[in-house]
Symmetry: D2
Subunit: 348 residues, 4 copies
């Protein structure tokens, strides 16, 4: 045990932090040594997260980045927006690695953050340094990084699905639409408002934050790099009564045939064990990725309209948050990237 990498989690009792904790409980080369939670400070982590009963004796500590860093080599920050940007500098100054699950360090340009998140950035100098934690596209940056900004849950599928097509010029950069459907756990564990009260959410569907969701510029930033020009797109998030899962449907004007697009996606992810490009004609389903790090992709042509339609499916809490963050940690540490991650999706 003494040789394992030591890991702390700030925000350990939310869905993101607890998901990281679950991975670490299975991890052969890393171990959870410190868990922060203001709500549960002084009580066992397994009381805050009863499903972990029997798996950990760790107690929750008041959230404290210095203490977290003192105990560990790697610090995960799984807090509400605006916390990590204040805490990361001290942890980095102590020579520890940081993986942040919030949006605080996802933008090269802190002004974009400030515009979409409505908060002044406390550590703008770190924005350009942080690696964007999408391993299939930023593996080298992640490997070299002190600070990784885990992606938002929504951007993963659209970026993985559209990046290769834009890079290869198979679709038009202009006019892209991303219509995404998410499970309710995306709201987080703390946000148990009327909108997510079971009787109101069950058997319900709705859109929200139409045209103003903060994951819009995150998708645009990555895809602009792919296209080599500024991408402005429409992103509409929807709430669907499942616990886990994001299905994204992307519409783009075709510059190539569907099988070119399919071939390009297959080639792009030939060496990516956690991206599965489906056979032509099959649609991905979120359940086939449940509780796993997989992102499943498919591409269709719509010759009547000249469009390419790309579909992505993943688990918003796993690939969209905790398992991808652990994958990034593995890369940062020079480990095999799948360590500690679930192998087979849970089905049914």
């Amino acid at each position: 045990m003494s040789e394992k990498v030591r890991v702390s989690i700030l925000g350990a009792t939310g869905y993101g932090g607890a998901g990281v904790a679950s991975c670490l409980l299975c991890h052969p080369a890393a171990e959870l040594v410190w868990a922060g939670s203001n709500t549960f400070a002084g009580r066992p982590l397994a009381e805050a997260c009863p499903w972990l009963r029997g798996l950990t004796d760790l107690g929750c500590r008041p959230e404290n980045p210095e203490e977290a860093a003192a105990e560990a080599d790697v610090v995960f920050m799984a807090m509400q927006k605006g916390e990590a940007m204040g805490w990361a500098p001290a942890v980095l100054a102590m020579g520890k690695k940081v993986i942040d699950l919030s949006g605080d360090f996802r933008f090269r340009d802190p002004k974009v953050y400030e515009e979409w998140y409505g908060i002044a950035h406390a550590s703008p100098e770190l924005c350009a340094e942080a690696a964007y934690g999408l391993p299939e596209l930023y593996e080298d940056e992640i490997r070299a990084a002190r600070l990784v900004a885990n992606t938002g849950c929504y951007p993963v599928g659209p970026i993985l699905g559209l990046f290769p097509l834009l890079r290869e010029g198979l679709v038009e950069p202009a006019g892209i639409i991303v219509d995404a459907k998410s499970g309710v756990s995306g709201a987080g564990r703390a946000r148990h408002t009327l909108a997510y009260h079971f009787p109101e959410t069950n058997e319900n569907m709705t859109a929200y934050r139409v045209g103003s969701h903060q994951h819009t510029p995150e998708i645009e930033q990555a895809l602009s790099l792919a296209a080599g020009q500024d991408i402005v797109l429409s992103f509409t998030p929807h709430l669907v009564p499942v616990t886990r899962g994001i299905l994204a449907t992307m519409y783009a004007t075709a510059k190539a045939a569907a099988d070119d697009c399919h071939r390009t996606l297959v080639a792009a992810y030939a060496n990516s064990p956690f991206v599965r490009v489906l056979p032509e004609g099959e649609c991905p389903s979120t359940k086939a990725t449940f509780a796993s790090n997989y992102c499943d992709l498919a591409v269709f042509a719509d010759p009547r309209t000249g469009r390419v339609i790309v579909l992505s499916a993943l688990d918003n809490l796993a690939r969209g948050a905790s398992t991808q963050a652990v994958q990034a940690m593995n890369i940062m540490l020079g480990l095999e990237q799948g360590l500690g991650l679930p192998v087979a999706p849970v089905f049914p």
Copy 2:
């Protein structure tokens, strides 16, 4: 009771037919007198539909259009595709009115039907005669009709949402996208395949029939009339684990400001009791329409992309099938159009 309009239902034990039956049980001016079901022939309707126990003593009869017509003034046909087109002529010849819930009579041009449904049309001469059963837009045609083609479940929201905007020239006719999310009851009661087996469907989301769903030309036909030119659009249906509800998200290139669009929708449906245009900034939710005849609409601008985004929510089995069909019957019979329909949506 003897003065009530007499009604038969072919296909009375499916979700569509049983929904019509439920309305008729509450109807002050019409009564169900004949119920067809090959599966349950000879057994009580309340055995096939146990939720109706105590409400009807009617027995199920073998499906037989002549017998259905002989007993009644109005015949609902709620069969699989391809049945009604063979049965309607005889019923009409007996001087009875027909309301068909299948797709058989929804297209003026039988060739469109044949192309998308993959069946030769048995009664092409009736296609031009049939009224399209969307009361808010075709009330006069319905009132005058012998034969009404109830709409598909998916087209209702997109047509109601986009028709006024296209008619007034507030959005571009080219480039429209309809991304629709449906509950599982849209698959029907008979189709209990693995795809809709509870353990496989629950906590799952997927797209299906991308670019090839038969409701595509139905939406296009209506919107082309609105635009005064041929509309070709992308329509993507998705399956969401709710029983009832369709949420549609429509993307169009703006030619006017969002408040113009909102004003136009409000004006268009000022006298339509079953269409509710939401205040600006609110998103419709399917649950607010559950088990009712309401279609809720909202419109958003996305100034970054120059798009208008229209949202519609409704209950696919009620407004998307049975309650709208009864609304059409009321219009055909010169009755108040809300008779027999549920008043308040069921919530939560």
Copy 3:
């Protein structure tokens, strides 16, 4: 309209109060004239309950029993426990009828209330006067009452299922067990805690308040009257991830054969339109009663153990709260008891 009975609702925006409001919107002889809500005071009822948009222009008023009573002939109280017992006397003193949906007036003996609810009773003198609002068993008392205590949601099924068997001596009064499974809406609209947060509730089952639920003595009080002796039973409530529905499974020692029990239930409810005793061998399902006032009953013998097993299914918000309360109002007013109630359950 001027001849309709005027009705006020205190607590109009909770699930119970809003359910009563929905019935009144369909009621031919009563109308909602006043709606109380501290949370939404000054705003439209249709803003607090968006599903009612287009159906009512009523605004919400601060909760005020005197004002509610001044406007109306009947006052529904759908508040948290402990409110109605303070408010009812003033309303009754104004000569108005009161139907309370809380537990405040369900016990003849206020000491039982105080023991199980943990509150001193503010109006103990009204406890003996209040009629228990279970129409099938207390119709005469309800008809004569100024004050009706609507039943708890859980007791309806067990009382309707066991009362006739105990009265006729077909089961032993000792040793009864009631194992009940409820949908989440039973928690109410205001109680959107972590326990009912969609991601935690979905795909989950649990028991709660084992041996201490306040509906226990309510069931015992009614069944003791049936048996002519004190009944002490085990009642275990469970939480199941559905919005609506209670299924109760009751175990009693048999003193007669199952078909005697079945015959007795059939006879007991022969004239009760809202109780359906299923054919022998069929199990009731909650969905067959969804959004209706039905309580479905079945009875089985377990000859290996000498037990009778009774099953009941109903909608906890309809028969377990609002529709039963409106049924009681109709009886109090000398109206046909089904006015304003839904006719057919919503299925699927």
Copy 4:
């Protein structure tokens, strides 16, 4: 890889078999080498089970016990009832170990099987030999066995919960009631009938096979051993709209105080890593065991009625089927019993 134990699965594409396959994909000491499926014979396992795409290249073979046995050291049989009893002898004769997930070998007395399953037993001589696959109670038998009968899904919780209390004489052997609530996956993957069609199952609850479920004698057989006398009990299964999970509520007459019972359960499972006895006063929830091998237990006193109430929660497909079967395999092979099993439950 060559040193791994080789494993075949008959019935590899059902929920039980595919669950075993998923464990084997994570197993450090065993590997899946042969997968049977008549439906998918000749096609990849990952086509039959698309969630396994990317994890296995194995193809499905026609079901054939000899072929399965020829390829492997251990053969899992995950077929419909009645298959394994015909196939096991040949596999055993080839010197291979058999773990059967059906009910075929769960009864010492084949007459009990024949009575409750309605099938003549083809291998009655094996009934006494087979070890009952509940590791916490039969570890030695399993270790020594050639043939293990994995338990039914329902019996696990009631046996684990009541066995220690009966053995220690803390509850009466007579009068026990087991009221169990199961998710829908218990019906299996092949049984996609109308009863499990999503629209009919969702938002529904019902009981089934009241007094006649075949898991009744399985619970009785184990508990009779504990009590040292014949136990006859009432068992009522219920269907709840979740995919995974069984919650069982057990009622027994107390012969000791609740804290004695609690202490006894804690002691009984002190060395059982997959049984968690909750602190007094807490109720188990199925979600805290989701996709894991845990069985969570709690015990309550009901002093008003002199009863002890025991609660158990587990995942019917994991602990109730596949993960427990793999746990048994590990024991048979002398491996650490948790190899290949999920570590942390998936939450939320």
